[in-house]
């Protein structure tokens, strides 16, 4: 028997961040025990394909898993799935699980992810109104996407539009109701929004912007039959998907008295206000050394990079989070890759043309490239990653000139 008990790290949340952290610790030969507690019945899985290939039925469930069970077994990672954590007791450094068990920790990592923003409107509790966050959600939605059905999607963000693309291809009559005056308003610029609006309309989607939902009508037996808007329009529906954004899942952290501010507040080493508790992924409002202010991001890149920062701290290396975030979306044959955050840009440059179905927008602030949205243009994305990370100040004319090799710009 070892004389000294090794450290126990418990990860709450079996999502991308939690799963990544556990296996990164194993890769780094972390000497302590690692346990993951997750409230879904699945191994840690990737969420981006849920509204893409998995919803379309192009990939099987096992392709979603970050790793097979065998990998966790070999690495000695203990998984407790389908189990909610009810409470964190910071004094005794233990968790109360929904199955009644207590679980002691030396280090705790909250990777609790997000909860859906719920639309409250008359009729919003009718049957046939879906949300999309989990594998189970997709398994309920997918059978509804059949020819002849009428799907109304509330919210023209990434997820709503990805679902629209898949549904319309399956012969579903699709309407998208976006409350703002353009789709993906929060995450991209007007040129990109306009391109996607056109592509969806060309594909047969009835896409409405400035359309605010007033309520849902009942078919007489408790199932949704239509969505009404504030302007008095009515859209028939056999199925509704509400995708109007998310909120960070901070309930456990807040109840435990950890600092929260639209996200669990963490520093660049992913430490919360309790030195033995860390938080990573979508649930955090975090410091990233690349940016001067705290960010809350909904992104795999952030989940993975924060997991790496936590792993480095737990292994005594203390590598701060300083990576530039990136994102992607697939709709029809369009692959959009994005890097950086365009908030606060004062200029933008287009490279290529939307009419050619391949272009990129470079967003600049004081001449510095801060973000790139690349549509079917992986070169601009890859080059953009380097330009943003280097805080490059390339000449605008060269940036827009497709005959100029982006690798030559600084």
């Amino acid at each position: 028997m070892a004389e000294e008990q090794t450290e126990t790290t418990v990860i709450v949340g079996a999502g991308h961040a939690g799963g990544m952290l556990a296996t990164t610790l194993a890769q780094k030969k972390y000497p302590g025990r690692v346990l993951i507690v997750g409230d879904e019945p699945y191994l840690p899985y990737q969420r981006p394909p849920l509204s893409k290939d998995y919803l379309a039925g192009d990939i099987d469930l096992d392709k979603l898993y970050l790793k097979p069970q065998e990998t966790y077994d070999k690495a000695g990672i203990d998984l407790t799935l389908d189990t909610r954590v009810e409470k964190i007791d910071r004094d005794s450094k233990s968790l109360k699980l929904a199955n009644g068990a207590d679980l002691a920790y030396d280090k705790l990592v909250l990777a609790t992810g997000i909860q859906m923003r719920v639309l409250k409107a008359p009729g919003s509790d009718l049957n046939g109104i879906h949300y999309l966050r989990t594998i189970s959600d997709v398994q309920k939605l997918r059978p509804e996407l059949i020819e002849g059905h009428k799907l109304v999607i509330v919210g023209g963000g990434y997820i709503g539009l990805e679902v629209a693309a898949i549904a319309v291809k399956r012969g579903v009559d699709v309407t998208v109701l976006e409350a703002m005056d353009r789709v993906m308003e929060r995450v991209t610029g007007p040129d990109v929004s306009a391109y996607f609006e056109k592509r969806h309309r060309d594909a047969g989607v009835d896409l409405r912007t400035g359309a605010k939902v007033a309520g849902f009508e009942d078919n007489g037996s408790g199932h949704v039959s239509a969505v009404t808007t504030e302007s008095g329009e009515k859209f028939e529906a056999t199925t509704v998907l509400v995708s109007i954004g998310i909120m960070p899942e901070t309930a456990l952290a807040e109840a435990a008295g950890l600092d929260c501010d639209d996200g669990i507040v963490v520093d660049e080493f992913t430490r919360t206000s309790d030195p033995d508790i860390f938080a990573i992924g979508d649930c955090t409002r975090h410091k990233n050394l690349f940016y001067s202010d705290a960010k809350r991001l909904e992104a795999v890149s952030n989940a993975v990079d924060q997991a790496r920062a936590t792993a480095s701290v737990l292994c005594g290396e203390d590598k701060a989070y300083d990576a530039v975030p990136w994102f992607w979306s697939n709709q029809y044959d369009i692959r959009m890759q994005m890097v950086g955050l365009s908030d606060g840009h004062d200029d933008s440059v287009m490279r290529g043309l939307p009419d050619d179905d391949s272009f990129a927008i470079f967003y600049l602030k004081n001449g510095v490239v801060i973000s790139v949205d690349a549509v079917n243009d992986p070169k601009s994305f890859m080059a953009g990653k380097k330009l943003v990370a280097a805080r490059a100040t390339p000449d605008k004319n060269q940036l827009s000139d497709t005959s100029v090799d982006l690798k030559t710009l600084t």
């Binding site: 970050l66 790793k67 990998t71 994305f381 890859m382 690798k407």
Partner: protein, 106 residues
């Protein structure tokens, strides 16, 4: 069951038992091969599953095309034998393939 050998920049080697029908990236990730980051999960978005293929095996692989070809060029240190493992399906013909993990994926 095809075997894949990954050689780290340090010279350390790791042999991975792979199954056909998955990608080399998936086999590497499942076996936790260091340096195959695969941040995007195999969607050919991030180019962090880059390897250098031992020259004698290059001809057994289909040529890179589309996004893979476009993105390889922008990895940290692209070479003639650079590939993204998320785009390489494992087949019986690849039994014994040797791949070199780059110094960095970023």
């Amino acid at each position: 069951m095809p075997k894949i050998t990954f050689i780290q920049p340090s010279g350390e080697t790791q042999e991975v038992d792979a199954t056909t029908g998955v990608t080399i990236m998936e086999a590497a990730v499942d076996a936790m091969v260091p340096g195959i980051e695969a941040d995007c999960g195999g969607n050919c978005i991030c180019a962090t599953c880059h390897v250098y293929v031992e020259k004698e095996w290059l001809s057994k692989l289909p040529d890179p095309e589309g996004d893979e070809e476009a993105m390889i060029d922008y990895t940290a240190d692209p070479q003639d034998n650079s590939r993204l493992t998320c785009q390489l399906q494992i087949t019986d013909e690849l039994d014994g393939i040797v791949l070199h993990v780059p110094e960095s994926q970023y």
